[in-house]
């Protein structure tokens, strides 16, 4: 089942088209990456999903139902721009936001206790937010996002501004929520994070959906049959008649081949000529490379 199905979602702001017929599905329980350069329309799209704004046209299904105002209570949204009430105490703040998401006072208190203990910040519960460090505030922010156990968790650049320790901590929590079955929509322009975390991605640029699918499929789709060969001894002398060498050093060579069959033949050829092959690996393109290849220099920034 899909948690979210977007079909031809379109949104314009006066003369500016923020989302131009975007369609994609988010399968339940997956970590889904929403990628795109700055200004591509990611935040506009998220605001539509969180019912902050409405699409001009197109349909959005949340767990099979057309998106309506009851759904946000099943969505947890951490905006890119973090914000809390500075003058409010930590526990009041979390309880208030939890209750706005529909939790009762009792449930909110219980969850609050659980999360404060989990992040080991019980001592801070009656401190005001402005007395907290940035990292601490981020933790509070994260708690307010997940306290109502959302079915869909939307994280807009969740690691921006986090130090490595806290980034890891939040990363672990995201993993755990994922294991518990939460679907996660992860919006970012930082590809290396997506590669580690996401199973499915959609790439949007200038409001248009340019690419979507599972990470492995997309990589396979964009692979250029580059192979890295580690060897001992010498390479055959006239090797460049058959293949293109991309790079080479004493014990390693990267070559570009035509297809998988060509790769097999190339391996046989090496062995036949007495080269000792210690490793033979296909090099898949990174999402970053794919991203740059598709978007090129054409992004808004």
């Amino acid at each position: 089942m899909n948690v979210l199905e977007l079909k031809d979602v379109r949104k314009t702001y006066q003369e500016h088209v923020a989302c131009n017929n975007i369609s994609f599905d988010i399968p339940e329980g997956k970590i889904f990456g929403l990628l795109g350069p700055n200004g591509a329309g990611k935040t506009s799209l998220i605001r539509i999903i969180t019912t902050i704004t409405r699409a001009d046209s197109g349909s959005i299904l949340f767990r099979g139902e057309p998106l309506n105002s009851t759904h946000p209570s099943q969505i947890g949204y951490m905006a890119e721009e973090r914000g809390l009430y500075k003058k409010m105490k930590v526990e009041e703040q979390i309880t208030y936001l939890a209750r706005l998401k529909g939790l009762t006072k009792k449930e909110a208190k219980k969850e609050l206790g659980y999360w404060l203990e989990k992040f080991n910040i019980q001592d801070w519960r009656s401190k005001k937010v402005e007395e907290l460090s940035k990292g601490m505030q981020q933790k509070i922010q994260f708690i307010t996002t997940v306290i109502h156990k959302p079915k869909l968790l939307i994280l807009d650049e969740p690691f921006s501004g986090l130090d490595p320790v806290n980034a890891n901590l939040i990363g672990d929590e995201i993993d755990e929520l994922h294991k518990q079955g939460t679907t996660i929509l992860f919006s970012t322009h930082r590809m290396e994070q997506v590669e580690q975390i996401c199973e499915h991605i959609v790439l949007i640029n200038k409001g248009t959906n340019v690419l979507s699918g599972s990470v492995s499929d997309i990589k396979a789709q964009f692979k250029e049959f580059l192979f890295e060969v580690s060897y001992r001894g010498a390479l055959p002398n006239n090797i460049e008649e058959h293949i293109t060498i991309i790079s080479q050093d004493a014990s390693k060579v990267v070559v570009k081949l035509r297809d998988v069959e060509h790769a097999n033949n190339f391996l046989k050829y090496l062995l036949h000529h007495g080269t000792i092959v210690t490793a033979f690996n296909e090099i898949l393109p990174t999402l970053n490379e794919i991203f740059i290849k598709i978007v090129g220099g054409k992004s808004d920034e």
Binding site: T53, A79, L84, Y85, L97, L100
Partner: protein, 440 residues
């Protein structure tokens, strides 16, 4: 609905629990009381009696025959010394000055009378007027005996004129002259109250909206609640804070007033006395006080309070929603919003000035039209209400105000929902118009 209550609760509690709220709520009445006590002390210290030597060698004032000269502030003594020797010793004898009556003629034809006051300090205004009054009274008495006029005859010459305003429209209604005076004061009080509420609490709403926008929590909030709910919750919550503060003051101020009146009863009496004796002609007599009291009871307070509350709440709603819209449109920068705030403050200030004119002349055309115009009516109509304007005008004014109030809240809601998500762009009035009609 439930969420609206949560928002109202947070807006209300976060303010009521603030130190500044507690301090202003407690200290405003206390400050008022301190000011009042200080006033009592200042006035009663001015009422200090002065001992003065009165020398009347020619016995023109005939004091020895008919007893002592009396006056509230000046205590006269009559030493049997001549002026020159007394000049040297009067301070040792405890006198502040010597009042010397030089030899001159005094009969029923006298129009000018000279007296000399010797002292080392300058003649204060109070002392001078007290001396003048005392001597004048004395001479009046002497003249009365000479002319053979007694107190009764004299008082028969006096006629008190009363102007009775009669309303032609409502002939059966008896209107006393005090009613207009009391109504004027009540009108001013209500007008100033609503004016300050609109400004103080309207600004509070605006700052609160700006705060949520600048610290970016608003995006998280409106993913859980509708922007309109958030705005309305804020307006109601802040309004409730205002009502709480007024309710507390309405209870504590009269209590403190009574307390001070009780503790300083003696002093107050002294102040009252000096006021009475030194300005005999101006103090209202018992009949006046009775009439004022009577008149105060003649006002229909239930009606006035209900009407006041309606205009108070509807006027607050109208202006607070405008302030919320401006707060949403403003960026992180206070300065750039100034021109937008001006759009709201100008009508409030105009209304305030119209209010002053209206209290003076509550049936003028200006008064009638201004109390129909919804941006002015919250301030102008309460100023008029004590003058019993035609009920049809009151109802019309209320209907127009409430309808406009709801309309403005709706319009502001539309500006608000877009404004709070706009960053880094200077908002113009043109943007305001666009946002009003923009779809979600």
């Amino acid at each position: 609905m439930n969420k609206l209550w949560l928002i109202i609760g947070r807006e209300y509690l976060s303010r009521v629990k603030k130190k500044t709220f507690i301090l202003t709520t407690i200290f405003a009445p206390i400050g008022f009381v301190i000011f009042w006590i200080a006033l009592i002390f200042i006035m009663s210290s001015g009422a200090e009696t002065k001992k003065v030597a009165l020398l009347d060698p020619s016995n023109i004032l005939k004091i020895e025959e008919t007893g002592k000269l009396r006056d509230g502030l000046i205590m006269y003594n009559y030493p049997k010394e001549d002026l020159e020797s007394l000049k040297k010793t009067f301070e040792e004898d405890g006198f502040r000055g010597i009042l010397h009556i030089p030899k001159q003629n005094l009969d029923s034809m006298t129009t000018n009378f000279e007296i000399e006051y010797y002292s080392n300090e300058s003649l204060g205004m109070n002392t001078e007027s007290n001396i003048k009054e005392g001597i004048e009274q004395r001479i009046k008495k002497l003249k009365m005996t000479q002319l053979n006029v007694n107190e009764l005859t004299l008082s028969r010459l006096e006629t008190k004129i009363e102007v009775l305003p009669k309303n032609i429209g409502a002939a059966e209604k008896e209107v006393s002259s005090y009613r207009a005076k009391i109504a004027t004061i009540l009108g001013y009080i209500m007008m100033i109250l609503i004016y300050s509420v609109i400004f103080i609490y309207g600004n509070m709403v605006m700052r609160s909206v700006m705060e949520e926008k600048t610290n970016r929590i608003v995006e998280v909030l409106i993913s859980s609640v509708k922007p309109f709910q958030l705005m309305l919750g804020k307006i109601i919550g802040v309004g409730a804070v205002g009502l709480t503060q007024f309710a507390i003051w309405a209870i504590t101020l009269p209590l403190l007033y009574l307390g001070v009146a009780f503790v300083f009863a003696g002093k107050l009496q002294a102040v009252q006395q000096t006021l009475n004796t030194s300005t005999t002609s101006q103090t209202p007599d018992i009949g006046d006080i009775g009439a004022i009291w009577q008149e105060l009871q003649n006002f229909n307070y239930t009606y006035i309070v209900v009407i006041f509350l309606i205009f108070f709440l509807a006027g607050y709603l109208l202006y607070a929603s405008l302030f919320a819209a401006v707060g949403a449109a403003m960026g992180d920068d206070w300065g750039e919003g100034q021109s937008l705030t001006l759009i709201i403050t100008i009508p409030v200030i105009i209304a305030f000035y119209i209010g002053f004119a209206v209290v003076e002349n509550p049936t003028s055309t200006l008064a009638v039209w201004a109390s129909m115009f919804p941006l002015f009516s919250p301030i102008v109509m309460p100023a008029r209400i004590v003058f019993d304007p035609p009920i049809i005008e009151v109802v019309m004014s209320i209907v127009i105000l409430i309808v406009t109030g709801i309309f403005f809240t709706w319009v502001s809601g539309r500006i608000y929902r877009i404004g709070i998500l706009m960053y880094g762009k200077k908002t113009t009035i043109k943007d305001f118009m666009k946002w009003m009609f923009r779809k979600d």
